[in-house]
Symmetry: C2
Subunit: 641 residues, 2 copies
């Protein structure tokens, strides 16, 4: 590398670090909000890292690049400053607009919003797990496409990330899988918001990571050569590697150096002035010396990408094209016949396999519930240490699973799915939220979707979960009434290409729908309609639709005209124009769903839902007990008329 660290004298490196430090401090000062402490503390590490990362600022999406994750997203000033200095499409004006509405430089880094941001971070611990996801995706890419994908995954994280459970979960899996391309730099500054870390955190981090199968290195976080040596050793450790960089928060921030006060607020004009004086930095705010820009520049990336691309074989290029296209138009979906009985978790298993047959980048697994979630991809092998099948075994680590899938999705070559019981979607909610926020493509398979779970009881029966996930913006929740709708839901979801959840039954459901794709695309459609004038519309989803059909029969016996509206995707129904909705919402409207169901009031006059938690007992007994028998549905409908 022509700009390698060893060719530079210490004075240059120090000048780079000082420039970076004050650029960040100036950004926070100008915004009058932000986190200067971590940016200043990590400036020296960032200078050295700049000499290691392989990126192409002119093409942030170069597939052969190293992946760089800033898990502590509050270090965003540092992130944007680096992107600017490296040559990404982040201007000095953007830095000056830090944390302002509509700027390219929001308070925490946002994927798809700013060039060079691999993943949205901020909620602590997520980035760590995302990095594990990148490393898993990298392994898969190497396996399918060769050594061109033997790039590194760098992750910078802090105490907050390492205290969060998700970091332990994902570190445990990374160690188990031996993800040697993963290098995590731990900014160990012994400070958190409440003060010294030893208020709450005294574990032996080295031992902890060694226990999980990692190599652990330490370095002085303000000593360029020491940092460089650690990064060089990490390249060849043969294991995922943690570099503990001992740093001082707010390094160079005059009397605030080392203080928790630098964490979440500007230094203030006075402190900043004194800090610059001490560093002999007699420049106006946002000043970057020209030669420093040259030293930071990653211009070399353009040539690196060119060479990389030239070395790819035609076959590899074709494989890449297949993976990138994410073309699901040729999937040979299974066919389910009217009257057939099939749990939607079972039909979903067949669908997942059909998709995986057609698109080789479809990968995933379960948090140790594959036999129950029906997520096994047959003849696709396991992803284990040294074995690169497509079936991931996430272990009993739902939270890491979701965040790892975010990493796999953002990697660009794969479409991941993950699975657990619906009630345990709670465990991965923060990761799912980020799927929605990033608008990436992760499929969440949630089986055991209601009181239909039966004997396992209240702890295992989702109640509030549909309301929760339907309230997440940019996220779609599919709850098909039967195996046939399940197929159509997947067709819709894959076409839309957004992250989505499939909420599926444990118990057998009779195939009673012969919907067309256009109907399911609307979110809801008239499944059945009496010949006589409709006085009541029953809206429902999933396992409650067939009881509604039976209730309709009972009502018809009393000469009441009914229609049954199946709503496999409430979120899509919300997007329909009023004219279409008017065809669904005829007469009085009763929504029937074995969930809390308050959101149904958007469409319905009354909701037959769950007012309490579930119970332990046979699923069929519970459906009756909680009022989802055809008789009770009919009775509630009758009362409304």
């Amino acid at each position: 590398m022509d700009l390698s660290l060893s060719l530079k004298d210490k004075t240059t490196l120090e000048k780079m670090a000082t420039s970076l430090r004050f650029l960040c401090a100036d950004m926070v000062q100008e915004a009058n909000s932000g986190h200067p402490g971590v940016a200043m503390g990590l400036a020296d590490v960032a200078v050295v890292l700049s000499h290691h990362v392989r990126l192409n600022p002119t093409n942030p999406k170069w597939l052969g690049r190293d992946r760089l994750v800033f898990s502590g997203g509050h270090a965003s000033a540092l992130v944007y400053a680096l992107l600017h200095l490296w040559g990404f499409n982040v201007s000095l004006e953007d830095l000056k607009a830090f944390r302002q509405l509509h700027s390219l430089t929001p308070g925490h880094p946002e994927y798809k919003h700013t060039a060079g941001i691999e993943v949205t971070t901020g909620p602590l611990g997520q980035g760590f797990a995302n990095a594990v996801g990148f490393a898993i995706a990298g392994k898969m890419a190497q396996d399918m496409l060769g050594n061109a994908f033997s790039h590194k995954v760098y992750c910078l994280c802090g105490d907050g990330d390492l205290q969060e459970g998700i970091s332990y979960e994902s570190a445990s899996l990374a160690g188990h899988l031996g993800l040697a391309d993963l290098i995590v730099i731990y900014d160990s500054n012994a400070i958190t918001i409440e003060g010294d870390t030893n208020l709450a955190f005294s574990e032996n981090v080295r031992l902890r990571f060694e226990a999980q199968g990692w190599a652990v290195l330490e370095c002085k976080g303000h000593d360029f050569l020491d940092i460089d040596q650690a990064l060089n050793q990490a390249q060849v450790s043969g294991k995922p590697t943690l570099i503990i960089a001992h740093t001082t928060i707010g390094k160079g921030a005059s009397e605030l150096e080392g203080s928790a006060k630098t964490h979440g607020a500007p230094l203030g004009a006075e402190v900043l002035k004194r800090a610059k004086e001490a560093a002999k930095w007699a420049h106006p705010p946002f000043y970057i010396p020209e030669e420093i820009k040259l030293h930071f520049s990653l211009q070399r990336g353009e040539a690196e990408e060119k060479l990389w691309t030239q070395a790819l074989s035609q076959k590899t290029k074709e494989q890449i094209a297949h993976l990138q296209a994410k073309d699901f138009s040729k999937v040979a979906y299974p066919v389910f016949e009217l009257g057939q009985k099939c749990a939607t978790r079972a039909s979903n298993g067949a669908i997942l396999n059909a998709i995986a047959q057609s698109y080789l980048g479809f990968v995933g697994g379960s948090a140790d519930l594959a036999p129950s979630n029906n997520t096994r991809l047959k003849e696709r092998g396991d992803f284990l240490k040294g074995v690169c099948g497509r079936n991931l075994h996430f272990g009993i680590r739902e939270h890491a699973m979701g965040a790892i899938c975010n990493g796999i999705s953002n990697y660009g070559l794969f479409v991941p799915f993950c699975a657990t019981f619906f009630v345990f979607s709670d465990y991965l909610a923060p990761a799912l939220r980020l799927s929605a926020l990033m608008q990436n493509q992760v499929y969440y398979v949630f089986t055991h979707d209601s009181i239909g779970v039966g004997e396992d009881g209240a702890t295992h029966q989702p109640i509030e979960h549909l309301s929760h996930l339907r309230a997440v913006p940019h996220f779609e929740v599919y709850r098909p009434m039967d195996a046939h709708e399940n197929v159509l839901c997947w067709q819709v979801a894959l076409k839309r290409g957004k992250s989505a959840a499939f909420v599926l039954s444990r118990q057998d459901l009779e195939v009673a729908s012969c919907a067309r794709l256009e109907q399911v695309q609307r979110g809801g459609y008239v499944l059945y309609k009496s010949t006589k004038e409709v006085q009541i519309s029953l809206l429902s989803s999933g396992s409650e639709v067939v009881p509604c059909l039976k209730a309709a029969s009972l009502l018809e016996e009393e000469n009441i005209g009914v229609q049954v509206v199946s709503v496999p995707c409430f979120d899509l129904l919300l997007q329909q124009e009023q004219e279409y909705l008017n065809t669904l919402l005829v007469g009085v409207v009763l929504a029937v769903e074995a969930s809390r169901g308050l959101e149904w009031f958007k469409f319905a006059d009354e909701v037959l839902g769950m007012q309490s938690f579930g119970k332990s007992g046979k699923g069929a007994d519970l459906f009756t007990y909680f009022g989802f028998s055809p008789e009770n549905i009919a009775s509630r409908a009758r009362a409304l008329l």
Copy 2:
């Protein structure tokens, strides 16, 4: 101890284990559903543990008892069988009704439902953290009430618990705090649902716990004396102790011994028959030899409690009575004046301190955000290793925090609160759900409650969270419009005594309410009403109420009659009779809330809410951008008329 292990011969112990094993297997077989593997695998450990635990079956709430947590709630057959054998109010008939609707023996153990169950478990990892909560509460009790509370906390857990992030978080805190009364027995059977644990889990568990400051012991899990020795050593280790018990899943289950197949399904009549033959167990199902019942009996607990109670001083008894009474009727709440500007996170901080002044069992803290959440209890000291103040430092471990508070609440002598940013309520959702399910008393303080968060941006701005938590049964969410309502909300919540969340602003809010307690008790009330006839009702909560008041002024200028309804607790409003609701819902109804808000359709014709995630920018700019300016509210209201 007159029934100590050493006095019994091995044959007796084996007979006890065999009885227990087949009792559990029979229960699962009779229910035709359940988890025999873990129960049979742990039978030998359970026999030894029966000789260590100090419990009084005739008074399951004896304060001096050991606490026993079965973190793997799927071991419920074992739990109920033990409770029966020990002499708790669980009959043989109850065992035969295992997992049936309305039985005392649901699929997973439920707090308050079955005598002797300390905490509801099933969602993995929770019980582990609950046990840490019990141990923290035990330390506090010792500090306040003396050595009478130097009981042990036992926790049985499995691979599933230890793979979940929450177990690492809570173990890290337990080690940090040096909770020496905590003894966790890890049922290490090397099997999970997908098969061998080494599919996904290969960390060095001993090293991991040592890294977190624990003592680690190992024992052969089917060798009575070895188990006993480990339990004896654990008593005196001076640290929280993990006993790794190497067991075989489904021990004694004939050819299924050691197989994942014994995990989640009955053994089947044939296998069970062969298993009993091999064990020379020629008895009908559910048979328990009389002498075995005597050996298991914990009858001694009654005498133990008597002695324990006699030794309490009068002063200690009075202190216990104070803590148990949980009397909040004498709290000297702060007073806030109309027009005063105060963030509700700030008023809440003052309220927490007022409560802590009046009730000495009020304890809590934040997940490293105390200065932001305003949760510091002044002059109450820190809870650290060897120091028993009332301010807990949970570290950046939201999930463990919630579950630890469940343990502290269930302990019986304290009322805990915990805190984080509202958006990170996602991180602790599984624990919060269990607070609701158990109907215990944990207060969740969630500050930074909307786009009002400002510059930190979309990752830090809650959108779906109100909808989520309002959909949780038996849980109440308070979102006061100002400091005055904040006080009343606490009065209501403490009177109701249920777990609840307080959703509070980061930004200053003007005190504009002079509500009375009876009004807030209703969940919602008319805050302002035009003198002219009301054509439109504006329903709102929190920081959006004052903009609604301003919108009302704008509308009145156009001669439109308006009323503004403040809804500090949506959940309570749901419980009001129609007559009262009719006084609130006059004319067309527009709900205004900076959240997803679909549940408002229960009351409103239209909702002005959030359709997307938030953005980074100044809070005031965001309120305008997303439509929560008085002008836009008035305009939306006008459009409805």
